[in-house]
Symmetry: C2
Subunit: 321 residues, 2 copies
Amino acid sequence: MAVYTEVPDDEVESFLTEYDIGEVLSLKGIAEGVENSNYILHTTAGNYILTLYEKRVKKEDLPFFLGYMQHLAAQGISCPVPIAGKDGEFLRTLCGRPAAITAFLDGMWPRRIQPFHCRALGKTMAEMHLAGANFPLERPNSLSVSGWEQLLEACEGKGDQVKPGLTRELEQELTFLSANWPDSLPKGVIHADMFQDNVFFIHENLSGVIDFYFACNDVLAYEIAICLNAWCFEQDNSFNVTKAQLMTRAYQETKPLTREELEALPILARGAAFRFLLTRLYDWINHPAGAFVKPKDPLEYLNKLRFHQSVKSVSDYGITL
Amino acid sequence: MAVYTEVPDDEVESFLTEYDIGEVLSLKGIAEGVENSNYILHTTAGNYILTLYEKRVKKEDLPFFLGYMQHLAAQGISCPVPIAGKDGEFLRTLCGRPAAITAFLDGMWPRRIQPFHCRALGKTMAEMHLAGANFPLERPNSLSVSGWEQLLEACEGKGDQVKPGLTRELEQELTFLSANWPDSLPKGVIHADMFQDNVFFIHENLSGVIDFYFACNDVLAYEIAICLNAWCFEQDNSFNVTKAQLMTRAYQETKPLTREELEALPILARGAAFRFLLTRLYDWINHPAGAFVKPKDPLEYLNKLRFHQSVKSVSDYGITL
């Protein structure tokens, strides 16, 4: 939870004069979002979200992120649609930071994942992949195989401080993944961070997806692999095949997967577990003492990685070819 | 900034069934409030604030605080009016904490205090003092003279770690204040924490007062003394007599002060500076490493205290008898 940049009352008032969304009535920093400062902006026209982009988001990537959200919204995907100013621009500067206003998205993220959540997620994921097909901008995934070596090096062998033998295990896994990573699968724009706190529901209905600040061009089935990791394990690290089945079936009802995509799911899931293990390890090692944001446990993803290493084929996920 | 208790989606849904304020659409923790966890609750009926009371607020004091807010609202004072459930109750339990829903109050607190803010504050303060006159509940001010000795002892002489000689200076001041504190002045219910972040404005209009969790029965003019400290000093510690004049004149247009009240303002302001110096010192000494909430600088109030010690009469504040 974090608000890194505080926006004074008079500065938001003058900022709002560049928009046609009424006058500001209230601005409250929200304790959500790790990368950016987010505010609920209440104006005479309704609720909005004001985001100030902090250091971890590259300014040159923002047109891709905001353009993608706008593109998805135009095709009926529920997400925080960016609001243009009177000049037609989405992005401007506030308190020295790049800043944008988006529509307020109702819904809450599910604390306890149930099968119906996974079914709804699969359907929306497929719809997003279809909707993204004709999005013209491109952004490579800096957190895919080619970026992992650099990230592992940046951990400077400190993995063993978290768990003895971890650095060597990670090096071996990276060698395997680099040698076997499937490169010829269908690609497109993926969200790449579709964890439960980024998917909102109202009762059993998925009301929208937020936080597009890892979106990139990559293998589409890699998104499913990320979600198998994020949505289909129980608290005790066991894998729930019912959730995996519901998610992938719902996906395929909207966008069928090829045999190659299905067969690649085990290694993609292994890679996804490796990616989150690695970034969590990096954050664990590098978080400043007394930081607002408590880093997430990297070892949760070591357990998931080991599960995927034990998988012999996609049918071990309960998914049939 | 803080959200100490996280409220899961399904728990707020079932909590809302006890109210007639529609169905929950969104719940976002806000980065405001030091004592409690606060959420913006968006329902099909509008925006509300959901507050979970944390350890620093005594549960037995909550009927006083909520009752006072309700009492003020009924008399036309703009504040977060508590919302009763279907059973007529304001206070219930959520996630193991006492919890209440209040109306959402528009407005923003002023980052840069200007004279018009002080004038509006003076008027509203007087209106609140009048409106509180027939409030039936009582709560003594645990942070007035009688509580200061205990608080100073709890600092265990560590004041000198913050500034050499501070402990002795505080002891001498407490001796003076205890011997000279005016006890016969008109009393009533005061907010007792009317700092700038607790007073909202929309443009030049005061839109409401929040955070009543220090409200208590005490000398009414002591509230003015607190506000002289909180609103009338500049960043460079200089005292702004224009702001003090506007505040006290506006107060007196609604509720005239007696000669005794005016003459007591210097010692009351001295006491108010002492009280915030002392609680800030206590928080400074006792805040856990890595806490979300950064303690405020106690020495700001040492400077203010010394200014009030130098004051010969109320006219040094620019206030005429």
